[in-house]
Amino acid sequence: MVISAAVRGAIAAHARAELPNEACGLLLLEGDVAVEYVPAENASPSPFYFELRLDPVVWAEIGDRDVEQAVVHSHVSSAPRPSRTDVERIGLWRDQPYLVYSVRLDELAAWQIGDTGFVSIPLTRDTHNA
């Protein structure tokens, strides 16, 4: 997955703004290139939980665009790795790209969560669109 500094910066800024709680949002992808971060509301504001809430009409319209969607959320202090909760709650997002940003470590990582666990998706900085 390729991500620009601007998109990465938007994820990090949202995560810091939501402290002490977790932040969440959608990353929009054209192929494997991240083109936009859409911040969402954490409907269960907590340092340990997130529950992504976005205006359903807006979300449905995003679904009509020719972009893939990936969920992004922050971990306040722990590593940017899916927690057991994340794996257990993956639901319909199984096998989709899934990103976690650690605020304390300032690290972003991408994953794909399946039925038996999760695998890392390599992240590359887009140096042409920094």
């Binding site: 409907a43 939980y49 359903p56 449905a60 202090s77 057991r84 909760t85 794996v87 709650r89 639901g91």
Partner: protein
């Protein structure tokens, strides 16, 4: 017709369409028709005839769960939007998390009865008592259960298990040795489920406990003070042997006890935290340590399960020294990674600190747990997380002298009473 907008994650089930049509005058009818037209959608959006937990259904921009659910009326020409609920959000009921945390919106819980409020207790960070920066201690406040202690989980689980197995018939009399919290929790469950309860407790148990048990309608049989909790156990087992009408849940040997902590307390902690290095609980029946420990090892294989144990002959209220002669059958000592001895005095100092520094009014066994939690937190590197399970609130101990007595007089002031 009704337009149903399909999210990308479900489009494979409808041949790639972004929206499809269905008919019906309620959300349930529309979804039934939708599933009939596109059968592959069924297992994705329905679970036991209800909306699946990982799907949100919106009508007019409103989540139908906040309206009338599947009975919400739909008018011709409306648009129903299906969206994938996001992972990491509301945990499932199986994990013992309360309705407030499960619901797709933030409201206080509305429940059918007080037993629905058992479990789902909060974790509170002890920011002022953490011994070094970068290491966090979270206290699980079991005093928030309906009768004020962790034993509500155990009592409810034991009665549920006995009812399910058929061992406990309607109206049968219950007998339990206890000098405190378990009796009060059983008294609550028994009174609501219609079982007469008799508790055997040491005659020097605190007045608050005796009075509360009586208020719940419990009969009391007093055992000799000098024999402590073990005397109550002995007498209760003798009574049960001589009279088969009694059903004795017997928390010390009942597998529903650790199971309540595996399914509830431990699962809640695993769902709430991304990392747990150490979990500390008091050593009583062993149920908390066994159940929570087993569940947390599944999520955090390297977690250290630590017991706060009273010094032999110096029993911290609520805790049990293994050297005092009784090892509960549900306790497998080999499953404890650490066992740290705590004196009455250390426990009281810690429980006072908990009140003064963090504003948490807890029982004295919680002081022992916090004492151990702070010590083990001091051994962790930056980023470490310790969970301290605080078994009860301080209310049932309010008449005790130790709250105000000088630190050096604490041990003497505690000798005359059995606390658990």
């Amino acid at each position: 017709m009704i337009t149903v907008r399909i999210p990308p994650t479900l489009r494979a089930e409808v041949g790639g369409a972004r929206q499809v049509e269905a008919s019906g005058h309620s959300v349930r009818a529309v979804i039934d028709d939708l599933v009939e037209r596109h059968p592959a959608l069924g297992p994705q959006i329905l679970s036991d005839g209800e909306i699946a937990p990982f799907v949100n259904v919106y009508l007019g921009g409103e989540d139908v769960r906040t309206l009338d659910g599947l009975d919400t009326r739909v008018t011709e020409g409306s648009t129903v939007i299906l969206l994938p609920a996001m992972a990491g959000g509301a945990p499932s009921r199986d994990e013992g998390v309360p309705a407030a945390a499960r619901a797709p919106f933030s409201r206080g819980p509305v429940v059918a009865g007080v037993l629905d409020l058992v479990g789902g207790t909060p974790l509170v960070e002890l920011t002022r008592l953490a011994p070094k920066p970068g290491v966090r201690i979270f206290a699980k406040l079991e005093g928030q259960n309906p009768t004020g202690s962790i034993k509500d989980r155990v009592a409810l689980a034991m009665i549920d298990a006995a009812e399910a197995s058929g061992e406990l018939e309607p109206g049968r009399a219950l007998l339990e040795p206890t000098s405190g919290n378990t009796g009060i929790s059983l008294a609550l469950v028994a009174s609501l489920r219609g079982y007469p309860l008799t508790c055997v407790l040491p005659e020097n148990a605190t007045d608050e406990r005796k009075r509360l048990l009586r208020l719940y309608g419990t009969e009391l049989i007093l055992s000799p003070a000098a024999e402590g909790s073990n005397g109550a156990v002995r007498l209760a087992l003798e009574l049960a042997e001589s009279d088969p009408r009694w059903f004795v849940p017997f928390q010390y040997a009942n597998p529903a006890n650790p199971r309540a902590h595996y399914d509830g307390t431990g699962a809640e902690i695993a769902a709430a935290l991304d990392r747990v290095d150490v979990v500390v609980a008091g050593l009583g029946t062993g149920g908390t340590l066994m159940g929570v420990g087993e569940r947390l090892r599944e999520s955090f294989p390297d977690v250290v399960v630590a017991a706060a144990e009273p010094l032999p002959g110096d029993p911290v209220m609520g805790l049990r020294s293994l050297d005092d002669g009784y090892v509960p059958p549900i306790l497998d000592v080999s499953r404890l990674d650490r066992k740290l001895l705590v004196s009455n005095e250390e426990s009281v100092v810690a429980v006072r600190q908990l009140l003064a520094a963090e504003g948490i009014f807890a029982g004295v066994s919680s002081g022992a747990v916090v004492h151990v939690a702070r010590r083990l937190a001091g051994e962790l590197d930056e980023g470490g997380v310790v969970v301290a399970i605080l078994a009860d609130g301080g209310w049932k101990y309010l008449s005790a002298d130790f709250w105000e007595s000088p630190d050096e007089g604490v041990a003497e002031s505690m000798e005359q009473t059995v606390w658990w």
